[in-house]
């Protein structure tokens, strides 16, 4: 079934939703850490990259899929904690500009370590490639991974929402994101809140790595990089300092990217990044506080 006016087919829409879902998770990951630390983690993509390599090793060692995935989670969470201890903590008292450049440095560093360790061609993480095969749904062929990605994203976001609204830790995190100083004066433990944000952020990065590895089987040093850049743009577009708009922004850019990738003729699709970033600039100019936020933007420290 084709929608007449564009080259828009159901599989394309499904892919758009799937990419939107994955990007939404990434947006949440970045947004959570920003909320409590006022730090934009440029190196988020490297967490995904590390997850990708973990999956590749799992495939190489012949581990069953679920073990590979657990290993992926382990690696990503460990790296997240390490990043927090070595980089975020000592920099917490410095200016946001310094923190921005520092995470940029970490991103660059990790990329080159991967390049050094795994070479330009990287490793193959083919264990989930079978999910690229399509399901027949009502006569339309939708990729299995598209359905799984959307379902996983919805599930993760739902669980997170429950955590944030129904548990004390979630409440503490929300308060810390609004006014960390006052929250601490009330007894909210800064270290716990930050650890919580870092771990959840890492977990979502691991999920993203698993989802992305199904379509992008070859894991290289730049695995997840382009996606992270787009998500960052989407988060800023949506409104960095508010969690729901940020997530919507990430979803929007993922969805747009997926749709446009399927709709644009191939000689124009290579300019897809340029289109998307041009849109980012336009939105930033019109609504510097984000598309989905109300006019009064909250204070950002940069």
């Amino acid at each position: 079934m084709t929608l007449a006016f564009l080259n828009l087919t159901w599989p394309t829409i499904a892919n758009g939703l799937a990419l939107g879902g994955v990007y939404a998770l990434m947006a949440v990951g970045i947004g959570l850490v920003f909320g409590v630390l006022r730090l934009v983690n440029f190196a988020y993509g490297q967490l995904i990259m590390a997850g990708g390599f973990a999956l590749a090793y799992g495939a190489q060692w012949g581990l069953p899929n679920w073990v590979s995935i657990l290993f992926c989670f382990g690696v990503v969470l460990a790296l997240s904690v390490l990043m927090d201890r070595l980089v975020f903590r000592p920099l917490r008292t410095h200016s946001p500009a310094v923190m921005l450049v520092a995470t940029f440095a970490i991103a660059f560093l990790l990329q080159n370590v991967a390049l050094l360790a795994f070479g330009a061609y990287g490793k193959s993480a083919g264990s989930l490639a079978e999910l690229n095969a399509p399901w027949d749904i009502g006569g339309v062929e939708i990729k299995k991974i598209a359905v799984i990605a959307v379902a996983t994203a919805v599930f993760c976001l739902a669980v997170l929402q429950l955590l944030l609204t129904r548990t004390p830790l979630g409440l503490h995190m929300r308060a810390a994101a609004l006014d960390f100083r006052t929250a601490r004066l009330l007894g909210v433990r800064a270290n716990r809140v930050i650890a919580g944000a870092v771990l959840i952020s890492g977990a979502f990065a691991a999920v993203a790595a698993v989802m992305l590895s199904a379509t992008e089987i070859q894991v290289t040093y730049s695995f997840g990089l382009q996606d992270t850049i787009l998500v960052l743009a989407g988060v800023v577009l949506g409104g960095l300092n508010r969690p729901i708009p940020a997530t919507l922004g990430g979803f929007a850019i993922g969805f747009a990217s997926g749709i446009l990738g399927g709709v644009l003729p191939s000689n124009q699709s290579q300019y897809l990044p340029a289109f998307l970033f041009a849109a980012v600039i336009v939105v930033l100019l019109l609504r510097p506080n984000g598309l989905f936020t109300r006019a009064t933007g909250a204070v950002e420290r940069v």
Binding site: P96, A105, F108, L116, A233, V236, Y271, A278, V280, L284
Partner: protein
């Protein structure tokens, strides 16, 4: 009349650059390539400093001006006969127009200036994170277009047949022009006004300073210098679009930060020191002689060293090696103390 006190502020970077140039003349032509690369990097980092150091606004997009300058100078200096062979897709105008070396550099600076004006006009209204992301978007757009558009240049292929006209003297003069202009700017009232907005933009605006206009001026000037540097760069190495994007952005930003983003001396020191290290470790991938010891490192070590150094400096001394200070006599401590006396966190 400029007070004599200020002279060391200009002389220190100039002397450093001249020393580098003279050293570069003495070494073998294999090593000289690294010196030339360093001098071009000095030009780029000084261009970055002119805007970032004085305005306090982060820009991730300057390398796009370097790229545009490189493309301009490159396409216009490839001999016409070669152009039809290596870049057949070029628009007719670019295919037939060929200029001399110096003219190409001037045009490169001009293109950089115009591009920065066009980009800066809307973008300089933004600040902080939004400006960072927006300039990053510009980088991505320019990189994307230059990488695929065959009517503007070699697209995905490396530039070839560009005359290698960037020698020690040309590179040195280029770097000195950038340093000289940056010095004149920061000593001018425009530079002072912009620095006032860096400290407290609300107060500066209340004092009648047009934040937007001053930022735009600095952005345009730094775009011109970046374009010039790009022109020098393309005449040094056969570059590709991928050489002029995220990685170069990171490295030049690292040089500025490590040297000290608040001062011209910092920009120069950072570029010289970091590119020196980078060159050393790049050369070491083929084996290098250090005081009688043979040192060989795996490829990619240079990037890692630079990355680690940048991270370490940021954690231990975020104001950089020079602490954001110029060389002048006597040193001014008042502002630093006033900042400390402000409310705590």
């Amino acid at each position: 009349m400029k007070s004599v006190r200020r002279l060391p502020e200009l002389l220190a970077p100039v002397v450093l650059v001249l020393a580098t140039a003279l050293l570069g003349l003495e070494v073998s032509s294999y090593l000289q390539a690294y010196f030339l690369d360093t001098l071009v990097k000095v030009a780029i980092v000084v261009a970055l400093y002119l805007f970032i150091g004085n305005s306090g606004v982060l820009s991730f997009g300057h390398i796009s001006f370097v790229a545009l300058g490189a493309w301009t100078a490159g396409v216009l200096t490839v001999p016409e006969r070669q152009k039809t062979i290596v870049m057949p897709g070029l628009t007719h105008f670019l295919l037939t127009a060929t200029v001399g070396n110096v003219a190409s550099l001037g045009l490169a600076a001009g293109v950089g200036l115009v591009a920065a004006l066009v980009v800066g006009l809307p973008l300089m209204r933004l600040s902080g994170l939004a400006a960072g992301i927006a300039t990053f978007a510009v980088l991505e757009i320019v990189n994307n277009v230059l990488n695929y558009d065959q009517s503007l240049g070699p697209a995905e292929n490396a530039f070839s047949s560009v005359p290698s006209t960037t020698g020690i003297w040309q590179a040195t003069i280029g770097a000195l022009i950038c340093i000289g202009l940056a010095f004149l700017y920061q000593r001018s009232r425009f530079g002072r006004m912009l620095r006032a907005t860096r400290e407290d933009s609300a107060a500066a605006a209340a004092a009648g300073i047009s934040v937007h206009r001053q930022r735009l001026l600095a952005f345009a000037l730094s775009g011109a210098l970046a374009g010039l540097a790009g022109g020098l760069y393309i005449h040094l190495q056969p570059l590709q679009a991928s050489n002029l994007s995220l990685e170069l952005t990171f490295i030049t930003l690292a040089m500025l930060v490590v040297g000290g983003s608040g001062s011209l001396l910092g920009a120069v020191v950072g570029a010289l020191a970091l590119n020196g290290l980078y060159s050393f470790f790049s050369a070491a991938t083929n084996g290098v002689d250090v005081l009688g010891w043979q040192l060989t490192v795996p490829t990619g070590t240079a990037e890692i060293v630079v990355g680690v150094l940048m991270a370490v400096v940021l954690v231990l001394r975020p104001s950089g090696l020079t602490g954001g200070r110029e060389l002048s006599l006597p040193r001014r401590r008042v502002v630093a103390d006033l900042q400390k006396a402000r409310a705590p966190t």
